[in-house]
Amino acid sequence: MSEQNWEPKIIAFFCNWCTYTAADLAGVSKLSYAPNVKIIRVMCSGRVDPQFVLYAFANGADGVLIGGCHPGDCHYSEGNYKTLRRISLLKKMLTQFGIEDDRMRLEWISGAEGEKVKTVINEMTENIRKLGPLNIPEKFITWDRELEKRNRGSEYKLRV
């Protein structure tokens, strides 16, 4: 995709009980928001393995949004605290990889906060639009271009 008509691609992990419900509520309330966020339903934000986040980035996501219940209101009691702990260590690590803080966002959105789904999605889309594309798959291709200089027969195999 050319830089010009590039649109931020954001993957969201929403917990079934609060944030996914809030996104449904936003739908029922016909709130209009940016189409850039695609939602994956998990039962609890505690299910979100940092591997998922990196996998999303590695496959071309420009941002990852995680939505859970407010602290103290987790349907599973404390899953959201575990998410907070993981995300804060993961962020520390992502900085070293050169991934900007705004590309990963953790938000507490209760089932009643359809409006907040809209605000957060719009805000995040705009923030990432400002940061520009991350486009890791493209980067990998660029990195591996140095290997193409040589002719290396049938066994040649690229990672991506």
């Binding site: 591997q51 993981r86 804060s88 260590l89 690590m93 990889f97 050169g98």
Partner: protein
């Protein structure tokens, strides 16, 4: 020519420890030598590249390649060995995952060369020469030199690999077992790692001392704290990679009172070693607000270096994303 199986050894970007590990077989190496014909082993024997080129395709039975791929020369030999060999074994953590050299993927090629050839305090290079890919020899003839790539790669990013034997370095026992297995009739499934697919805690002598209700308020650095020689290292707050890392080494480091650093790599079900490490260490920590949580991690000085010490090449992100050329 003898009918004994032909074996090749080669080293790429590595410290030499893997070669040392083969030598560490001690008397057992004689047994090995009895069983096989070594056709290529630059560290120990005088074979040239052309000797290998002269061999018919697939005539080498097993080629053990250690080290990561950083230069075009390493790449070239890897291709050559792939053509000439039936089985390629990625030997050691560098060949399997990029290893320690792969941590250079956090820096650009220029930063690495600049640091090594110019900035380093022990270097005297007033003219600021950097390695070149061409040079003129004494006869005035232009010669080509290997190119230093911008990226450190694991072996299987260059050629297909039949088996993996990680380890920094693989222990003599693992090497002996592997050789015996490969010389036997029952070959494991292609592409497999020749280690148990179960994490290190399984064989850790301190397993029983780990509590079931572990909740860590602050991770500690091994260099700044006294280590209890009996108790689970993770329970003491040290970043021990044992739960994420494969077993097979018999918990050598832990027996030496040092936490596991993860050289044997993750089990087959884990996609990204570092991400999984983040998940586990974070899950075991306490704290209910950002401030408390940040405090837990204050001593985790270098998350990438700690959680991807051997795996950066094979990690999902492969290295620092913006780092120039």
């Amino acid at each position: 020519m003898s009918s004994k199986p032909k074996v090749a050894f080669y080293w790429c970007a590595s410290c030499g420890g893997c070669e040392e590990a083969v030598v560490d077989l001690a008397e057992d190496i004689l047994e090995v030598v009895k069983l096989v014909d070594i056709v290529f082993w630059p560290v120990a024997m005088d074979f040239k590249k052309r000797d290998v080129e002269a061999l018919p395709d697939k005539s080498i039975n097993i080629a053990f390649i250690n080290g990561a791929i950083r230069t075009s020369e390493q790449e070239e030999i890897a291709y050559l060995l792939r053509e000439k060999s039936q089985l390629i074994i990625a030997f050691g953590s560098c060949a399997c995952f990029g290893g320690i050299p792969a941590l250079a993927n956090l820096y650009s090629k220029f930063e690495v060369l600049n640091d090594v050839y110019i900035e380093s305090p022990t270097v005297d290079n007033a003219a600021k020469f950097l390695p070149q890919t061409t040079s003129i020899d004494n006869n005035g003839k232009q010669i080509e030199l290997p190119e230093f790539y911008s990226q450190v790669r694991a072996l299987d990013e260059i050629i297909s690999v039949d088996y993996y034997l990680p380890g920094c370095a693989p222990t003599p026992k693992l090497i002996a077992n592997t050789i015996n297995m490969l010389l036997g009739d029952n070959l494991p499934t292609a592409g497999s790692t020749l280690l148990p697919d179960i994490a290190l805690c399984e064989e850790c002598p301190r397993k029983d001392s780990k509590p079931t209700d572990l909740s860590i308020t602050e991770y500690k650095r091994i260099c700044e704290n006294l280590v209890d020689p009996e108790k689970c290292l993770l329970a003491q707050g040290f970043l021990c990679m044992g739960p994420i890392t494969r077993s097979g080494c018999e918990a050598l480091c832990i027996k030496g009172n040092m936490p596991c650093t993860g050289c044997l790599g993750p089990t087959s079900r884990v996609v990204d070693f570092g991400a999984k490490a983040v998940s586990m260490f974070a899950s075991l920590s306490s704290g209910k607000n950002e401030e408390e949580i940040e405090k837990n991690y204050a001593q985790v000085m270098d998350p990438v270096g700690t959680f991807y010490r051997y795996h950066l090449s094979k990690s999902l992100l492969r290295g620092k994303l913006e780092r120039g050329i």
